[in-house]
Assembly symmetry: C2
Homo-oligomer: 122 residues x 2
DNA sequence: CAAATATATGAATATATGCTCATATGTTAT
DNA sequence: ATAACATATGAGCATATATTCATATATTTG
């Protein structure tokens, strides 16, 4: 209402730097976008799924092989493959009784590389 | 033990394509790396934290302003800032009673951009 | 020092999530 | 058709996690 230049008062849910908050608000993506982005990263946020994706960087694999590789239950693997597929990160093709999974995204590799870069200390 | 070229039998925790599994195993990063990577993405896997990081792309902000921006409790924001700080994604500087948070990572922007690229349909 | 304010933190709670178990579906071979 | 096998899926459980509430800490002001 007043205080044009340096607003350095009031908080408790009230804004201290209205100008900054307004600018940030302008530049914020839509809520749905932010939600979807978080949902995507949530998929990356599990060791089993990260392992599966890394495996598929190297080669297409059937569920059986992934199960053996990870030392988990076939059920557990299948459940996670479902999650990855729903996120459109992997695709599958059926050949006889077996189902072969492979990567279905060009971005994952780069996302992982950036993530690894962050991890190997800044 | 036998069957050199096309091993297309046995599963149930037994490997179907031993060659593939062996190759994949070779190229897999260490378990600790995979775990840390998943932990990092777990941090990105929450709408509130994604919002905070996006906000900080634009400007350094105090807790108060972030709280107003997100329409959450000050406590909730503080808890999430803690998570982000622990992951070395944000840093903070104190000025009087206020604490200003800003980005502390060069990779987040690129990770988010790749994530957004994936989201906006393949 | 006391009051006001900004931020941090521990406990409690409600929800989400990954795995296991049991079972269903679908394919191949006998 | 029956048996064997590969994969998918639903229910249940145990754990993780995001938010809230209450309160602690720290800084500034009167």
């Amino acid at each position: 209402m007043n205080d044009e230049q340096g607003s350095i008062e009031r908080c408790s849910s009230n804004v201290v730097h209205k100008d900054v908050v307004d600018l940030v608000k302008e530049r914020m993506p839509e809520d749905e976008t932010l939600f979807d982005l978080a949902e995507l990263f949530k998929v990356f946020g599990d060791t089993t799924r990260v392992k599966i994706l890394f495996a598929l960087f190297t080669a297409e694999m059937c569920v059986c092989d992934i199960t053996a590789l990870l030392g988990l239950t076939q059920s557990a693997v299948s459940h996670q493959l479902r999650v990855l597929k729903q996120a459109r990160l992997v695709k599958c093709r059926k050949e006889g009784k077996m189902v072969y999974y492979s990567l279905d995204d060009e971005h994952v590799k780069q996302i992982f590389d950036q993530g690894l870069a962050h991890i190997s200390h800044k």
